[in-house]
Amino acid sequence: MRFFLRYISASFYVLLILLLSWHFLYFNFWRIRYNFGADIWLWGDSQLYQALDQHTWNEDFNVVYAAGHGYGFQDLIAFTHRLPDSAEVILSVGPLFYRYSQDRNTGGLCIDCIESLVKYKQIVDSNYTILSKLRQNMVQEFSRTALFSAKTSVYPDTVRLDLRKSYIDNIQNIIESKDLSINFRFKDSVLNESLNQISNKASKLLFLSLPVSGQLLNSSFTKVNDHYMRMLLSAKSDFDLDYDTLHIRVLKDPFYDATHLNESITKLLNEKIKTYFQSMSRNTILVIDLEGNSTE
């Protein structure tokens, strides 16, 4: 038995050494260098993931597409630390960034980020299982268009009022039961540090503010949205950003649920943002305003 246990332990030691080497070398050196040649580095949560179709963007640019459902503050920190110098960046941070406890964290182990994460005392939170997140990160983060991922990520033109209502009910419960100010302060400081990193590295930044449905804005979510708008204005002055609004006229409800745009509007939006990004000369906050985005 003893020999068998020694034998197995030796194999697991080999596994452990390989895992640590892999994480350190792969994430912090090779994988990032592999992406150094990318035209655009794009980060956002599900709002961006559903709005900017990575396949459409990959047709024209070499894009590092780091966006997905639930991408949160840890992912943002990891992303900004890993940006190469002179990168061109599209960053989408919306009011959902101030979500209370649902940051997915697929950012994995970023050696450079540990200091920041420790600073925010969030390196190990209740949802953070280090091993599974590391593995997720290896497979998913910064992944390029896979061979067979031609299916778009956009939502269809149907309006899911049930999803919208349940989302609003849920978020209202959270807003009414939690002390928002702590979360605002904490997320503001993360965002400030991230913008600081980006402005030190990026040659071009488009800070994209995507809309949420009118119904959500008419709920107590407005407290979060008001804070978010104040943050935008302060970021404008702190980081010397231009502030612009892109008005798009919509005739019917453009939202699939409370926060995600549907197919028709995203087609239009992809083209407009591409054109805007190519023509902009200064780092800019671009607010997307859907005229006619009224409460149903």
Partner: protein
């Protein structure tokens, strides 16, 4: 609790240590422990179906005892048939009822008669086909007086429910596995290392080979009309290696897990894609099922000691029922039919034994291996298709176009073939993969590769059967 899940790799060491450090010397307590953890393992899928295994176990335990005691042939036959009807009845309700009910409705609708919806909302219990065949073989062996019935219900229940092979085989015979529950084992280091080696290798085949090919196969079969001819052919090849990696990987983990506890299970695969004809393929593929059908269906039907046309009928019956065993769908029956047709030529050849050593001696041999593999791949298209029209459309979409977008994925089958050729005469991996001194390094590397490739665990294909 899949073999490729984290929970299994927490479950296995706990059971291992309790087994060897606490219970191993007390045979009866050990068997109770094996039974308990096996039922716990099964309940982790769906505890409601435990009653089915327990029911089948109790039924066959008592029927076998009565069978053994009885000398009246008519009574013995009645007992055997009651076991067959009850076991196959349960299997039939869960697995085949909806298929036959919908076929009946379809048939009547052709005559403009409506039977309404006769289907039931039932879930197929995991592993039901496997443990049903295992208990049936026990009853039949006792009926034939090849086997003395067990007097210990715990031991018998542990044999039926033994967790490494409970949900997807190998389908063990009572004659070989049941006596092992009588032994008091002492820890055998070589056997345990062999088990560990098999588990790692099985995981590699499942996670790295099968699961990497799965999304490509799904895409090609779902959008077959958009694929070029060469990609359609590759789709069939990839599925061949996906299902092989998946199922033989499962079997290796099962055999390896059993070895950790001192038990030996039968080999289920012997490098089937190196076969030179379909007959040889079936002596290398899913051996526990093909020998089950040989012993409990083919031979009772007369086997080879009958006229040629009866032999052919028997072969067809075995393959068609074997197809149906896999699932209630015409595609499986056609798959069985294709193998039956292609099996016949090798059936009449003289040499039906596997060679002692697997070697490809000549260019002709290589062509025969290639030809056999091509036939097997044609069968796999039916096996994988959703229905017959899907399979036919798949073949109909072939065009002479050699442009491929998926050829790079051939690296997975090639890696597997290369590795299997190195170990071609040792399917149980009883010898170290490399020098004994450094093998732990290779196993560590293989585990690392498994870790890298492991994304969302994909369920083993044979669980659905």
């Amino acid at each position: 609790m899949d073999f490729n899940s984290i929970s299994y790799f927490i479950f296995l060491p706990i059971v291992f240590f309790v087994y060897w450090l606490v219970l191993v010397k007390h045979r009866q307590v050990r068997n109770v422990f094996i039974l308990s953890v096996s039922y716990f393992f099964y309940a982790s899928w769906d505890w409601r179906f435990l009653s089915l295994i327990a029911g089948s176990t109790i039924l066959d335990f008592f029927i076998a005892k009565k069978l053994s005691k009885s000398t009246l042939e008519i009574k013995r036959k009645l007992l055997l048939f009651s076991s067959l009807i009850l076991n196959l009845g349960v299997l039939g309700v869960f697995k085949y009822y909806n298929f036959f009910a919908s076929e009946l409705v379809e048939l009547f609708s052709l005559m403009h008669l409506s039977l309404g919806d006769l289907t039931l909302n039932v879930v197929l219990p995991v592993g039901i086909s496997f443990y049903t065949f295992q208990t049936l073989s026990y009853t039949i062996d006792v009926y034939k007086r090849k086997l003395e019935p067990s007097n210990d219900i715990v031991k018998f229940a542990a044999y039926v429910g033994f967790f490494p092979q409970l949900v997807a085989g190998p389908i063990e015979r009572a004659g070989t596995l049941l006596p092992q529950f009588d032994k008091v084992f002492t820890f055998n280091t070589n056997q345990a290392i062999n088990g560990f080696r098999l588990i790692v290798w099985g995981l590699f085949k499942k996670v790295v080979i099968a699961d990497s090919l799965a999304p490509i196969v799904n895409e090609i079969f779902a959008n077959y009309s958009d694929q070029t001819g060469v990609d359609l052919a590759l789709g069939a090849v990839f599925f061949a290696f996906q299902i092989y990696g998946d199922f033989s990987g499962y079997s290796d983990i099962a055999i390896g897990s059993a070895k950790l506890f001192g038990f030996e299970l039968m080999s289920n695969f012997k490098f089937p894609y190196f076969s030179r004809n379909v007959g040889e393929f079936w002596r290398r593929w899913h051996i526990s099922l093909s020998t089950w059908f040989r012993d409990y269906l083919y031979i009772p039907l007369g086997g080879s000691r009958v006229e040629n046309w009866l032999k052919i009928r028997n072969v067809f019956m075995v393959f068609l029922i074997s197809g149906l065993w896999h699932g209630a769908n015409w595609t499986f029956i056609i798959w069985g039919g294709i193998h039956a047709v292609m099996f016949i030529p090798s059936f009449f050849s003289r040499n039906k034994q596997l060679p002692k050593e697997l070697e490809i001696l000549s260019f002709i041999d290589l062509l025969r291996v290639f030809g056999t593999f091509s036939i097997v791949c044609i069968g796999w298209v039916f096996f994988r298709a959703d229905n017959i029209s899907h399979a036919i459309s798949y073949f109909a979409s072939f065009t002479w176009s050699f442009h491929s977008t998926v050829y790079l994925y051939l690296v997975y089958p090639l890696i597997l073939l290369f590795a299997e050729w190195q170990i071609r005469n040792d399917e149980r991996l009883s010898e170290p993969l490399i020098s004994k001194k450094y093998e732990f390094l290779l196993l560590g590397v293989l585990m690392f590769v498994v870790y890298i490739f492991r994304d969302t665990p994909i369920e083993f294909i044979y669980f659905q059967f």
